[in-house]
């Protein structure tokens, strides 16, 4: 016969303070665990959402990011003659050569200090290739002018990065004429201008950092990749979908955060397991007579074991729910950090995914089991006569 659930829950209520402390401990651990996974997912989602899988991005094979990639004008010529490049309504190929650089700006707010901001020079086709860039405030920059538009994440966080201000770099003053909002991808943490202006200001000649074009048909990626392997003028470069490229830019940060975070939570969980164990052992010790009575009433050892294990699972599950609930509020928080791959500031939001919820619950159940198993065994092995006599 099973011990009723109600009985189990009531016995947790009987020791409110200890129960609450244990639940609080578990929820702290779960909070940190969830928050770390959410942060790592947030960075990954932000960068994955940056690129489109219909676009192909070309960068130098050895380059870790866009700023260390160089594509000369000769190579650009070879790339732009690939037959797989789609054409726009006006018949012009949909291809952009981007120049990507990093400039220092002063941050707004209490931490202050300077940080790096990505400035991207683009060709006119870039706006067709990346339709998410829509000017919300002010106007689009003029081609051929020292003007830039700014992503809302940068305008929010940096001094002098608002519409109407001028920024000095490359020996010139650049006017910020517009603000765009992509709804939170990597481009939202950038500034955009005319590529030929940036090439001129930074004396880049005709060379670009990366080249992006739209595929004529989605299945032509393989053909493009093949031409990069076969053509010895292109062998130092690599073609990837734009989405894959930006997703890989998140790899280091998200792995770094997960590794550090998981290392920390493993430590934490041992603490929480020990907390749960202490609570459960105390529950067994205090309730020796009660256990004896249950056994005398005819409840099997099995049932007693199950009852105590369930009690421990309830503790850990409630803890997990509280922790996750607290962590879920982090979804409304936008934070920003330097992304090692691009060496510049990237704003992202914590993202709660289904797999995080799943892993957190599994993690909590493991904690509950580890904390409750030994005490439950002790409870189940109590001898009826000795237990009843122990008062």
């Amino acid at each position: 016969m099973k011990i009723p659930m109600k009985y189990i829950v009531r016995s947790l209520f009987a020791r409110r303070l200890t129960t609450a402390i244990t639940i609080f401990g578990v929820s702290l651990v779960v909070f940190v665990f969830t928050a770390v996974l959410m942060m790592s997912d947030g960075i990954r989602q932000t960068l994955r959402g940056t690129g489109s899988s219909e676009n192909v991005l070309i960068a130098r094979k050895a380059a870790n990011g866009e700023i260390s990639s160089i594509i000369t004008s000769n190579t650009y010529g070879v790339i732009s003659s690939l037959p797989q490049i789609a054409r726009g309504a006006d018949g012009a190929p949909l291809i952009t050569g981007d120049v990507v650089v990093v400039i220092n700006l002063e941050k707004i707010g209490t931490d202050g200090g300077i940080s790096n901001v990505t400035v991207r020079g683009v060709s006119p086709a870039a706006l067709t290739l990346r339709p998410q860039i829509q000017v919300k405030e002010g106007r689009m920059f003029n081609w051929g002018a020292r003007e830039v538009i700014v992503g809302s994440s940068i305008a929010r966080r940096f001094q002098g990065a608002q519409v109407g201000s001028t920024i000095k770099f490359g020996g010139d003053n650049w006017t910020i004429v517009g603000l765009y909002d992509t709804g939170g991808d990597g481009f939202n943490s950038e500034m955009w201008g005319d590529v030929s202006q940036l090439q001129d200001a930074f004396r880049r000649g005709g060379s670009y950092s990366t080249v992006t074009f739209r595929l004529g048909a989605p299945d032509e990626l393989e053909a493009v990749k093949k031409s990069f392997e076969d053509d010895n003028r292109l062998q130092q470069f690599e073609a990837k979908t734009e989405r894959t490229f930006f997703e890989e830019q998140s790899e280091f940060m998200s792995i770094f955060i997960s590794v550090l975070g998981i290392f920390i939570t493993v430590f934490f969980s041992v603490g929480a397991i020990i907390g749960a164990m202490i609570t459960m052992y105390a529950a067994v010790a205090n309730r020796t007579v009660e256990i004896g009575t249950l056994r005398a009433l005819g409840f099997k050892r099995r049932s007693v074991l199950a009852a105590f294990l369930v009690e421990s699972f309830v503790l850990s599950l409630v803890g997990a729910l509280v922790g996750m609930l607290l962590a879920s509020f982090l979804q409304f928080v936008q934070v920003s950090t330097m992304n090692f791959a691009s060496f510049s500031e990237l704003e992202f939001a914590f993202a709660l995914t289904g797999s995080t919820v799943f892993f957190t619950i599994i993690f909590a159940l493991i904690m509950g089991f580890a904390g409750g198993f030994l005490p439950s065994i002790r409870a189940a092995r109590l001898n009826i006569v000795n237990a009843l006599r122990s008062a």
């Binding site: 651990v29 050895a62 380059a63 260390s68 200090g113 430590f267 041992v270």
Partner: protein, 386 residues
């Protein structure tokens, strides 16, 4: 003295519980020590910087170069002792995951600027003489098994093409606070190749390293340097090496904040584990405390008894944790590539902080059960059923 005996006896009454509590506290202390060590490693570049070194870089950002021609003009400023320069080379060795800093430097001056990198004089001489030679740290040599005379091939990204360097010097870091994973080669070697292949990029350096005679002059000299190049095509920003390094890690302040926050949460967890144990012990002994009170023991004795027990447990847990921190940090620094955290050691401050927090938690954890014990009247206490 009797009170002390009772304190220890009480702590040992539930051997398993006390043992678990001590283990719990020690694990939390280890985690705290480890996290603080990671934060220390993060700031290692800042701690390593010397007060008599300035860094001059392009004012737009560190990715933009400045002309080599600035060198002589900077050297003329009074108070400047040596001017050296570097370029960030980047590049790929084996594959992209094998990261360590690679820099093109001026072989004549670089080791004068960094006396903390100790090079045998004969090796230094050969390194200076041979155009395609490189010098690297012992930690790097150990990691990849580099020996004098080895040829290291690399694939360039910022400086495209295939590159080869011959190991001619291996430097020894002066102590454990110095980075032993740096890789230096001749700036001339880089520049000659740029002249031939990308003439537009020849004659540029990444940043200047300036050694000054008097550290108190750093602000004045920085300003003089920047004024020299004001309104030129490459304006400069000069700051102390420390400020330069701080600027580098400023961008990752989010991660530092996170780590610091988590180390506070850890202290919170120690508190919960110990607090829980103390509350349970005190609750079980409600009757005993009433008996003690009846016998005439005052509140002061109860205070000593409960707080003392809590302190005994936290001291054991904290002590064990501190002992375990060293081997754990040791294992971790062996397990990850040396170039991830070039400088990884337990700072004395970390130990002090961990010890203080463990003891503070010991005192705090006893407050709640103490309050309850003092407040319960003798009659209620004797009547209490656990």
């Amino acid at each position: 003295m009797k009170v002390f005996k009772l304190m220890f006896k009480n702590a040992l009454r539930h051997k398993l519980r006390t043992f678990l509590t001590i283990v719990g506290i020690s694990i939390a202390v280890v985690a705290f020590g480890f996290l603080r060590t990671v934060v220390t490693a993060w700031y290692a570049g800042v701690e390593m910087s010397a007060a008599n070194r300035l860094v001059t870089r392009n004012s737009v950002s560190f990715i933009f170069p400045i002309p080599y021609a600035y060198r002589d003009r900077i050297a003329q400023i009074p108070g400047v002792e040596t001017v050296s320069y570097s370029n960030w080379f980047g590049g790929v060795y084996i594959d992209k995951s094998q990261f360590f800093a690679r820099m093109a430097v001026d072989p004549e001056t670089i080791f004068d600027l960094y006396p903390e990198f100790i090079v045998p004089p004969d090796q230094l001489e050969t390194f200076k003489k041979e155009r395609n030679s490189c010098a690297l740290g012992t930690d790097l040599a150990k990691q990849y098994g580099f020996k004098i005379g080895d040829v290291i091939p690399m694939e360039g990204d910022i400086y495209p093409g295939k590159w080869e360097f011959v190991v001619r010097a291996i430097y020894q870091p002066r102590d454990k606070t110095v980075d032993g994973t740096q890789f230096f080669f001749h700036w001339q070697y880089l520049d000659e190749r740029m002249k031939a292949e990308m003439p537009g990029r020849a004659g540029d350096v990444g940043w200047y390293l300036i050694k000054i005679k008097d550290p108190n002059q750093s602000a004045v000299i920085s300003e003089q340097v920047d004024n020299l190049f004001k309104n030129s095509r490459a304006e400069t920003k000069t700051e102390t090496e420390r400020a330069f390094q701080e600027g580098f890690i400023q961008g990752t302040s989010l991660i530092i904040t996170l780590l610091n926050f988590i180390s506070f949460v850890i202290i919170g967890i120690i508190f919960l584990v110990l607090g829980n144990t103390m509350i349970m012990s005190a609750r079980e002994r409600t009757k005993e405390y009433a008996v003690l009170k009846t016998l005439g023991f005052s509140g002061k004795h109860l205070l000593g008894l409960i707080a003392g027990e809590s302190l005994v447990i936290s001291a054991f847990g904290g002590g064990l944790g501190l002992l375990l921190t060293y081997p754990l940090v040791g294992v971790f620094s062996l397990a990850v590539p040396k170039s991830w955290f070039p400088i990884f050691y337990v700072e004395p401050l970390t130990i002090v902080l961990a010890a203080i927090s463990a003891l503070a938690v010991g005192v705090l954890a006893s407050i709640f059960p103490l309050q309850k014990a003092l407040r319960t009247s003798i009659v209620d206490g004797l009547r209490f059923v656990g």
